[in-house]
Amino acid sequence: MYTPKPPSAALLALALVSSAAFPQTPGLGKPISEADVRPWDIAIMPDGTGLPPGSGTAVQGARVFAEKCAACHGEGGKGGPLAPARLFGGAPLTNGIDTPKTIGNFWGYSTIVFDFVRRAMPFNQPRTLTNDEVYAATAYLLYLNQIIGENDVMNASTLPKVQMPNRDGFIIRFPDKI
């Protein structure tokens, strides 16, 4: 049977030195601090990690929605010409495989609402809402879906605790791929 000879101490030392001096990759990535990445670091995790300071309620959100969202989504989120889907309610998912998905009948995490409104809305002016406006719009959408009350304050600590009706409605399709 072939047994590899243990490398000499000198060779090992050389290997360590050379791997430090000559990394296995070209090393052309330029170091950057996390502070400098922050303007792009906008993804909110389902546990709320990444949520910024600020707060809002559905009452405040109704005003934000009327001003910034209703042009496409219709009054009160009923749907408009450019965004016809209703933003609340929704049939039970057992109604059919093509049941329209809403925050109320489908979305598993409240953080998705904040994340998507902040990164993508308004559609033609994304990332222009203040954090307070995003919290307020998020609260309004959750209120429309009868998930929170009209005066419940949404902020970095309360939002992730909101229990979404369909939170446990998902099956991981290929667990072995994770």
Partner: protein, 439 residues
């Protein structure tokens, strides 16, 4: 037994399945005599009174060679079809015309494209890609610095998980292979292995996911398991030899061979290593699909084994009985295609199609099957298997698990559900008309 014009004997071509499907090796061993035999025109009398002539273009110099060539003006119908032709303030799709193409590579101008907020006009000199999060050292790359890295090329299909979604309809939608299956394309992609960049930044052992995000106005983001990121993921910068098309992610995109199209984040500008998934809008809502019992699949990732016949198919015309080649594409997000069977009688009998080499993993494989149509009604189907032993389901098998709509889907542009991969059936009438049917 018959004789050809030279008087040599030839063997009746082997019929391998009903309604005229012929042995896939026919042309390899039969040669010209065989071809003559299956067309039945070996002894055709030469036509008279039609002498060949020089057409005008043969008698004058043509146009000067252009810097960027485009197809002949006679191919103007070979274009992508659009979901938002009026450029409204919403998403827009363009579908690949599979019924008008052949081979395994999708030309860049015809690669499918879905843009949830239009095409950003990215200046490649200003574009940045950052890798950060659970790493030893966050790093930022430019297109110039990435272009100095060791690169590799690989063929890979990219497929929207909403491709073929009209087939969830309880009645067959009458539409071309382009309309039904045009949200998949296949290219040779060239770029840098994602594992190289992760190694360079130094992954923390706690990192289990990579959040990939684009530089489009939605900053579209998806969570990718580290398993995939370290396996065969690539930051692609070239597509079929040239820089990426804007609709396919210029100047750089994530390529996750075999994984649902939306995860192959375009305009890639950020990679964040994390211990859990982001549960982003597109993974938490859009690309999670409702099952008949009201539960929903999450993290489907893999585009499972599929095939469809492109020739003949809806939108093409049959030109009377006689010889035709049945051909189409097969692919699997789980690896190589191992076998494609073809039926001309709606699945009652099957013959094995020839797989055109090279058969590459997670890429289009072109299958071909010689066929002599006798002019009677037939139903053509193809069914693929991959090297993992996965079989493309029949429609009945698929619907039994994943369901169908209760009312007919009106528009082939709608997405009743996602991840559809059953057998497609083309019914051909004795008049030569081709319909989309369920069989």
């Amino acid at each position: 037994m018959s004789r050809d014009r030279s008087g040599k004997k030839w063997v009746e071509p082997v019929v391998v399945a009903d309604n005229g499907l012929l042995d896939r090796r026919a042309f390899l061993r039969g040669g010209a005599a065989f071809a003559a035999a299956i067309t039945g025109y070996a002894a055709a009398k030469p036509a008279s009174g039609e002498p060949l002539v020089d057409d005008p273009w043969s008698l004058e110099m043509g146009t000067v060679t252009p810097p960027l060539q485009v197809p002949s003006r006679f191919e103007q119908n070979v274009v992508r079809t659009l979901s938002n032709p009026k450029n409204e303030l919403r998403n827009s799709h363009a579908r690949t015309p599979h019924h008008l193409l052949n081979g395994t590579i999708t030309p860049n101008s015809l690669h499918f494209s879905i843009n949830h907020s239009g095409l950003p006009d990215i200046d490649p000199a200003k574009h940045r890609l950052v890798i950060h999060g659970l790493v030893k050292q966050p790093l930022v790359y430019t297109l110039e610095s990435l272009s100095r890295y060791p690169m590799e090329s690989r063929m890979a299909f990219v497929e929207c998980s909403g491709n073929s979604a009209p087939m969830f309809s309880n009645e067959p939608v009458q539409a071309t292979a382009q309309a039904l299956h045009g949200l998949v394309s296949c290219s040779e992609w060239t770029g840098v292995r994602l594992s190289t960049l992760i190694e360079e930044a130094g992954a923390d052992p706690k990192a289990k996911w990579v959040i990939a995000e684009g530089g489009d106005s939605l900053a579209l983001h998806r969570s990718v398991p580290m398993k995939k990121a370290l396996d065969d993921a690539m930051v692609a910068v070239y597509q079929n030899g040239e820089r990426l098309m804007p609709g396919n992610g210029y100047p750089m995109r994530l390529l996750l061979p075999g994984y649902q199209g939306n995860m192959n984040v375009k305009f890639l500008r950020r990679l964040k290593l994390t211990d859990g998934p982001a549960m982003s809008y597109y993974e938490g809502r859009t690309y999670s699909q409702i099952l008949p019992d009201g539960k929903a699949y999450r993290f489907h990732f893999v585009q499972e084994v599929k095939s469809f016949i492109t020739h003949p198919s809806f939108g093409l015309k049959m030109n009377g009985p006689g010889f035709y080649e049945i051909s189409g594409v097969a692919y699997s997000g789980n690896g190589r295609i191992s076998k494609v069977m073809v039926s001309a009688d709606g699945g009652k009998s099957w013959g094995e199609a020839a797989l055109q080499a090279p058969v590459l993993p997670k890429a289009f494989t072109r299958f071909r099957m010689p066929w002599r149509w006798d002019g009677r009604p037939v139903v053509l189907q193809s069914r693929a298997w991959d090297e993992g032993g996965n079989a493309q389901p029949t429609r009945a098998e698929f619907v039994a698990v994943r369901g169908e709509t209760k009312t007919p889907v009106k528009s082939p542009l709608s997405f009743p559900n996602q991840h559809y991969n059953s057998v497609t059936s083309w019914g051909i009438g004795s008049d030569g008309e081709i319909k989309h049917v369920y069989a």
